[in-house]
Amino acid sequence: MANDEYDVIVLIGDSGVGKSNLLSRFTRNEFNLDSKSTIGVEFATRSIQVDTKTIKAQIWDTAGQERYRAITSAYYRGAVGALLVYDISKQITYDNVTRWLKELRDHADNNIVIMLVGNKSDLRHLRAVPTDDAKNFAAENHLSFIETSALDSTNVELAFQTILTEIYRIVSSKALDGGDQHQVSQPGSSQPLHITPTAENATKDTGCC
């Protein structure tokens, strides 16, 4: 309970793009070829060093399958970063990226840092999504972009490192500005972070009804 300062990062993307394996590669350096589809959500933590500061990351690995994710809103609660994963060998997973992006915009914090991750870069011969397409798409939507392979661990570390660094930079710059409290994840400020969207959503819901 002593260390209460950490960042929540969610992993989202279509079923089977390799979210769970990205997570296990990053947190436990494991890879499982025949892993089952995730039910609900799984958690893992890891600390990394950014500049001189240790950043603790709590990563939520969410289910990609539609039937396992009715409570989507719960997954984005308090998330400051999101890895939107697609499979470079499957065009459809890339096509769905827009849908995921929309979901993020709907449910997550407005300031959430999003990174587009093209996973399974080891499957070069099966590539269906050109790197440039994805890169352009990311640029258009102001996302970071990286291609990874959980299998041979290419860029996995880098992806998490990058997103966490980015989050850190934003947070620290915001803190320097001393401005908007709502968007900033600060020591002891996690409570307001999720209260605000809750209030917004609640009013939206009642209004709808």
Binding site: I39, G40, F43, T45, I71, A74, S190, D205, C209
Partner: protein, 952 residues
């Protein structure tokens, strides 16, 4: 006579005429037309059977029809058959040959006849005219062929006749009396057209019987030949008053020839069915008897003087020619010195003699020795092989002397030697007796192998030999087998009894041990792997010396100081089955070759000791090994007799099965079952609340029980190996025969074990779940799932792993299920695991319902449930997965922010989400466990039932 009649007449005089008698209609006209009122032809024909030959010939002269009747071939075939010189197959073969020739000839003849018909010439085959049956053109083909055959024979005969006449002339010149006798007796008897060449040459006479040919339609002539040769001698012999009278002995001076002719006469006498045959036969037998006696006397004389190659050999030959030589074989065997000199071969009491020389004359029961009997057999073997040479020299290869001789030796010498030993041993000590029987039998078999095969002994000699040797022991086998079984059973029972008594005394100590044992659970799994390495491996890898190694491993429990690990290592290196009683503690000296025990090994040893100590109060591997070992020795002894074959072998085999069954019965119901029952009882008494310490992941009685299952499994494997090795491999039992008592008993034993295991597992699951429930109750903190409850609201735990409780529960469950792996049937294990999983699920559900869960706490709960789920997936039991999937799904409802009541409602109301494991009401019930339930309840219910909407 019309040409059609002869076949009819022939038919009536056939032996099958009796069949014709049944048909009076066919007989009646014959009677009326052909004969004056008198006897029917059939009866006449039958009467003819009893006429002496010369009367038969006279009878034939009466009329053509009667001649036909007398000359009928089957009559003579019958006589030849009486003498046993008619060979039906040979006759048939000749007949078929003739048929083939005839067909060829007929074809030729048909062509010829056609030509003849054209020429208008009617001729008969000249050769045919010479036949005795006066064949005509219309004759049946068979007779025609017989005529053909006859023709050729006639030519041969004439040739030999001429030769014989020449001989006879020479003899007449020589002035022997042979011809005189010939003229005197044979002239009136033999048909005129049959020559009497045989008498002319006494030497050819000797071979008259073997030279008989079996030709259909030609039997009369063959018989005539025999009769001419042997008839006179036979009747002369029958009339003789003393043994000097008969001509036989005057014609033939040579004993061999005399024997030969007498043997022929004996055969010839078989066809003598005429009046007074009994007297003649008696006389003949008397003469033969006199002759045999004389020959035997000569043989005996030769025997006594040791004239092996001379008189013995010669008269053995004579007697064999006469009647197979049984008499002289008997004499040889009876008179053999070995029968009377058996005392010199060894005194049966020598086997026990040793004890008298023991200090202070105190007879020790263990002083029986097999040495003297071995010596005895060696001597006897040498003697017999010497005799085998003699037999080889004296008797020709056609006579089997060795077997009767060995029979006699076995009966008179070996039996006389063996019986007192066994009786004495039996009186002294049963165990000694059992050893003596097996030992001596083994020696006997070895002895049998040393006996040389002689040329007259035939191919089946070794089998015969074994049979004879088996007969020696026949009388003892029954008693022995019974004793063996009784002894074994008694031994087993005493073993188990003494063990039980010992345990009873130690019971109090072990009870307390159960309580104290709990402190060392941490090393349990470690121990089990060691246990498997040390004990299981040798059994499965090297099956035969099983008696020694696990025993030693069990023995290690006794020797606390020496390193058991080192011990077992040494033992697996030396692969010789330990013949000494297993279970005796190894001396430290034996243990030294192993690697020096490190502290870790010592620790392992200590654990092993304590562990086996705990199991020992239930049942003992050591006892089981002792039992198996004594069963093995008993079986090995009894199995010797299965080689004897026949009834004895069969009985021995059955007895072997009985021993195995006895082993199972003692080991099963008496020993193992009792242990299991006790373990289950301990289990049922277990109450987690009464035990203060729960720091370690084990339930003592359950662990004990599970290890008991391991040991039980070990014993079962041992029994299996034993069965395969000792019974199946030794062909003592048929594994495919499901009705076989041994296989049945083995199955029953396994079944019993399975049943006990199942019963215990059932109890074990209860205990395990009790323990889990207990853990839930005492270790789960309220703050685990509701971190805000205490008041320190602002903080969230960064370490989002599973809670301590979950880790502990999984550890308890997995450590116990892992203990079972490999020790019991896969199916049983699966059922057990599945049951454990489902019960764990139920416990978890109950547990969750007892908690208050906040949104933050949900992360913890989800982590816990993920942890359980991960464990369940390792079990690889499909049916369990949906339950734990549903739990994971369920846990999501706690994660939903209170503001999203509508979403919550969707989740609760979606039964598909939980795969049918939870109903909507149940999910709702779980939802009420939310820390903020009363705040969101209204919203959720409105969303669920739509009530709120209407109000709004």
């Amino acid at each position: 006579m019309t040409p059609t009649q002869p076949p009819k007449a022939a038919r009536y005089s056939m032996p099958a005429a009796k069949m014709e008698l049944m048909n009076p209609i066919r007989i009646a006209p014959l009677k009326g037309t052909l004969r004056k009122p008198g006897l029917p032809l059939e009866i006449i024909s039958t009467i003819l059977e009893y006429l002496p030959i010369q009367d038969l010939c006279r009878f034939a002269r009466v009329s053509k029809q009667l001649q036909e009747m007398v000359y009928d071939d089957s009559r003579w075939v019958h006589k030849l058959k009486l003498m046993g010189v008619w060979n039906e197959t040979e006759a048939r073969r000749r007949f078929e040959d003739a048929m083939r020739r005839r067909r060829a000839m007929q074809a030729a003849k048909a062509a010829e006849e056609k030509k003849a018909l054209q020429n208008g010439v009617k001729t008969l085959n000249a050769g045919m005219a010479g036949g005795p049956s006066a064949p005509g053109v219309s004759r049946s083909s068979t007779l025609f062929d017989a005529g053909e055959e006859e023709n050729r024979a006639q030519v041969q005969r004439e040739a030999s006749m001429r030769r014989a006449e020449l001989d006879a002339k020479r003899r007449t010149v020589a002035g022997t009396i042979t011809d005189g006798i010939d003229l005197m007796h044979l002239a009136p008897l033999t048909p005129v057209d049959i020559p009497r060449p045989s008498m002319a040459d006494p030497d050819s006479l000797l071979k008259v019987l073997p030279s008989v040919k079996s030709i259909r339609g030609f039997a009369k002539h063959e018989f005539g030949r025999i009769y001419a040769a042997l008839g006179p001698l036979y009747f002369d012999l029958a009339k003789a008053k003393t043994h000097t009278d008969p001509v036989v002995f005057r014609i033939y001076r040579d004993p061999e020839q005399q024997a030969q002719i007498l043997a022929q006469l004996k055969v010839f006498a078989q066809c003598d069915t005429a009046h007074g045959w009994m007297d003649r036969l008696e006389r003949l037998n008397l003469m033969i008897g006199i002759f045999e006696n004389a020959a035997l006397r000569e043989f005996e004389g030769g025997y006594e003087t040791g004239d092996i190659d001379g008189r013995m050999k010669r008269y053995a030959g004579v007697l064999i020619l006469l009647n197979g030589g049984q008499a002289c074989v008997q004499l040889f065997v009876q008179k053999h010195p070995v029968m009377f000199e058996r005392g010199e071969l060894g005194n049966p009491m020598d086997s026990f003699e040793l004890e008298h020389f023991l200090p202070l004359g105190k007879p020790m029961p263990g002083s029986f020795s097999l040495e003297p009997s071995s010596l005895f057999f060696t001597r006897l073997s040498a003697l017999l092989n010497e005799q085998a040479d003699v037999i080889d020299r004296v008797f020709p290869a056609t006579v089997n002397v060795m077997i009767p001789f060995l029979e006699r030796v076995a009966e008179d010498v070996i039996s006389e030697f063996v019986t007192p030993i066994l009786d004495e041993a039996h009186d002294r000590d049963i165990e000694q007796y059992l050893k003596a029987v097996a030992g001596i039998y083994h020696q006997l078999l070895d002895f049998a192998k040393t006996i040389k095969k002689i040329k007259g002994s035939g191919v089946r000699f070794p089998e015969e030999m074994m049979k004879i040797m088996g007969r020696v022991f026949e009388a003892h086998v029954d008693l022995y087998l019974q004793d063996e079984l009784d002894f074994f059973r008694k031994k087993c029972e005493t073993e188990v009894d003494s063990w039980e008594k010992k345990i009873l005394e130690e019971d109090a100590a072990t009870e307390s041990f159960f309580m104290s044992n709990i402190n060392r659970e941490a090393d349990k799994r470690d121990f089990l792997s060691t246990f498997k390495k040390v004990i299981l491996m040798p059994v499965s890898v090297i099956p035969s010396p099983f008696a020694a190694k696990p025993a030693a491993a069990a023995a290690e429990t006794k020797s606390t100081e020496s390193s058991p690990y080192a011990n077992s290592n040494t033992l697996s290196v030396q692969e010789i089955p330990d013949t000494s009683r297993p279970g005796t503690p190894m001396t430290p000296g034996q243990a030294t070759p192993g690697p020096p025990p490190t502290t870790e090994l010592a620790a392992k040893a200590a654990i092993m000791n304590s562990r086996l100590e705990g199991i020992r109060s239930l049942f003992s591997l050591e006892v089981a090994l002792n039992l198996v070992h004594s069963a093995k020795s008993s079986l090995e002894r009894a199995a010797l007799f299965t080689g004897a074959g026949g009834q004895t072998g069969e009985e021995a085999r059955e007895q072997c099965e009985q021993i195995f069954i006895a082993l199972l019965q003692v080991l099963g119901p008496r020993h193992v079952k009792a242990g299991f029952d006790k373990a289950v009882e301990h289990l049922s008494k277990y109450n987690p609340r009464e035990i203060t310490e729960h720091t370690q992941s084990g339930v003592a009685p359950l662990v004990t029980f599970l290890e008991l299952v391991n040991v039980g499994d070990l014993i079962q494997q041992m029994i299996d190996v034993f069965y395969e090795q000792e019974l199946v491999a030794a062909k003592l039992t048929d594994p495919k025969d499901f009705l076989n008592p041994a296989a049945k008993e083995k199955k029953r034993f396994e079944q019993m074990l399975d049943e006990r295991v199942a019963a215990g597992l059932n109890m074990g699951i209860d205990v395990l779940i009790d323990e889990v429930d207990h853990l839930f109750a005492i270790t789960q903190q309220t703050t685990d799932f509701n971190p805000g409850a205490i008041g320190d609201t602002g903080l969230r735990d960064f370490d989002i792993g599973p809670t301590k409780t979950a880790i502990q529960v999984i550890e308890v469950v997995s450590s116990h299920t892992k203990l079972l792996t490999g020790s019991t049937d896969k199916n049983v294990l699966d059922v057990f695991n599945q049951e454990v999983g489902i019960r764990l699920f139920a416990s978890l559900c109950k547990h969750i319902k007892r908690q208050r869960i906040s949104v933050d706490g949900a992360i913890k709960l989800i982590s816990d449930l993920n942890h359980y789920h991960a464990y369940i997936t390792t079990l690889k039991i499909k049916p369990l997965v949906p339950y734990f999937n549903a739990l994971r799904e369920l846990s999501q409802i706690y994660l939903i922010d209170p503001s999203h009541a509508k979403q919550m409602a969707t989740v609760i109301a979606d039964p598909n989400r939980f795969g049918g494991i939870f109903r909507v009401e149940e999910v709702y019930e779980y939802a009420t466990r939310r820390e903020d339930w009363y705040r969101v309840k209204k919203e959720v219910e409105r969303a669920m039932y739509g009530i709120g909407c209407c109000i709004c």
